[in-house]
């Protein structure tokens, strides 16, 4: 009797396992079919290279700390009043607002660490961590972010690295988990905040203002962000398009591109566009950046 019972259990187990095996085989077959399709697509792309078939372009943009390093000069003073207060992070509701403000806080943190205002940084780290938890992406940080920060609060260099790491980890996590729609929002928030912090330094227009020149150079970053948003999140496309149009209409004097090599075999790419803007268009650009930023940080 006992043997019959054991036999029945074993039989059920085998049926169950066979079921799993069949499922796995069909799953693998599906994956392979998809890959075969992909292979064919890639082949077509490669064979038709001469026919100028559309290729997949990955649009990348510098992180906020790269942008701030680019604009920083010795005469720039810290302006904490321009930042979004970190204590209100939990007032942002909904994925769109939370993701946009996560980007804004990431940008603020990059700005703070660049000016070594470390006592202010902990609250911004907390806001970033809090919004990451709300968006269910806090797993991006392999160890509790707040612990890591409190252990390094007196160490300026470590905080800069942690701040930059926080951005990289969020980007990697969102790409890895196929949440590039959220990454588009985070990146837009971060870029709008970076641009806003730059224009806040410019009270009045002058054509030799270095900061304005560096702001105009963000034209390429804004264009790449716009293409990325088009690919991944149509929700904010009107906002970024508005910015992109203003940057695309900048006046430019173009010189032919040249390529040289230094003695150490470094490539030197010369030529390109000298960008400029009229006082009226600068005011329009400044106003657009500020109104977008005001719209994003508004608590609904």
């Amino acid at each position: 009797m006992n043997h019959i019972k054991q036999y029945t259990i074993m039989k059920r187990k085998l049926v169950f396992i066979m079921g799993i095996v069949l499922f796995q085989i069909s799953f693998i077959a599906c994956v392979n079919d998809t890959k075969k399709d992909k292979t064919q697509t890639n082949l077509i792309e490669f064979e038709d290279e001469a026919q100028e078939v559309d290729e997949k372009i990955f649009y990348r943009f510098p992180s906020p700390d790269e942008i701030f390093k680019f604009i920083k000069s010795s005469d720039l003073q810290y302006n904490g009043g321009s930042l979004n207060p970190p204590m209100i992070f939990n007032k942002y509701a909904g994925i769109k607002n939370q993701a946009l403000n996560l980007g804004i806080y990431i940008s603020d943190l990059a700005y703070i660490t660049m000016f070594e205002q470390h006592e202010a940084s902990l609250e911004y780290f907390m806001a970033i961590h809090g919004l990451s938890e709300e968006l269910k992406i806090s797993a991006a940080f392999d160890e509790p972010l707040v612990t890591r920060i409190s252990e390094n609060i007196g160490n300026a260099d470590s905080l800069v690295v942690i701040a930059s790491d926080a951005y990289t980890k969020i980007v990697d996590y969102l790409v890895e988990h196929e949440q590039e729609d959220i990454l588009a929002l985070v990146s837009a928030g971060a870029l709008v905040e970076s641009l806003n912090l730059i224009v806040d330094y410019v009270d009045s227009y002058s054509d030799d203002n270095t900061l304005i020149k560096k702001l105009l150079d963000q034209k390429y970053v804004v264009n790449n962000l716009t293409q990325y948003v088009k690919q991944n999140n149509k929700e904010i496309i009107d906002d970024v398009e508005k910015l992109n149009v203003l940057f695309s209409n900048l006046e430019s004097v173009d010189t032919e591109t040249t390529v040289e090599k230094t003695k150490s075999n470094k490539l030197v790419i010369g030529g390109g566009s000298e960008l400029s803007i009229s006082p009226e268009n600068f005011e329009k650009l400044k106003e657009t950046i500020q109104s977008l930023r005001a719209k994003y940080i508004k608590i609904e």
């Binding site: 392979n32 290279e49 990348r60 990697d172 790419i269």
Partner: protein
């Protein structure tokens, strides 16, 4: 007893299958884990990218290079991505070729450069098809992870 061994064997096969299928697709953080950074004084740029490539594939990264910065681009890839190289192109209508790493005799997987004026550049990464026709190649060997590491630093030859 025999049935138990059979069950364990079946589970092991299922596990191996799952690992093979999923492992092949996973190139996440490849650039951070595998590309050798120049390191100090260069810093990791958020414009770096990891991706799954197929032999014979070409992909393009659109990046911004700021004037006043110096950049280092380096590629790293799995062994089966033989002959991988990159080109730097201007983002104009003709995609003017500025640099082709395949013609270098050494260090063809990395290049340092700077721009005199801020520019939008296209980094074109190519994995050649190789000698075997695609149909004859082992299916799994046709795919591999590729990392494009971009590092930057303020130009050292500026100022005092």
């Amino acid at each position: 007893m025999r049935s138990l061994i059979a069950i364990k064997l079946i589970f092991a096969i299922i596990f191996m299958f799952t690992l093979t299928v999923n492992g092949q697709k996973n190139c996440d953080k490849y650039v951070i884990k595998n590309c050798e950074a120049f390191g100090t004084p260069f810093k990791y740029s958020g414009q770096s990218k990891s991706a799954l490539f197929e032999v014979g594939q070409k992909s393009i990264l659109s990046i911004t290079a700021f004037a006043g910065f110096e950049y280092r681009i380096s590629l790293c890839a799995e062994k089966n991505m033989k002959g991988i190289f990159f080109r730097i192109r201007e983002n104009d209508t003709n995609r003017t070729l500025l640099y082709d790493s395949s013609i270098e005799e050494e260090d063809f997987l990395e290049k340092m450069f700077y721009v005199k004026k801020t520019k939008d550049l296209l980094i074109e990464v190519v994995v050649p098809e190789g000698d075997l026709a695609l149909d004859e190649q082992d299916y799994k060997k046709r795919f591999g992870c590729v990392g494009v590491l971009i590092e930057y630093d303020k130009r050292s030859d500026l100022g005092f």
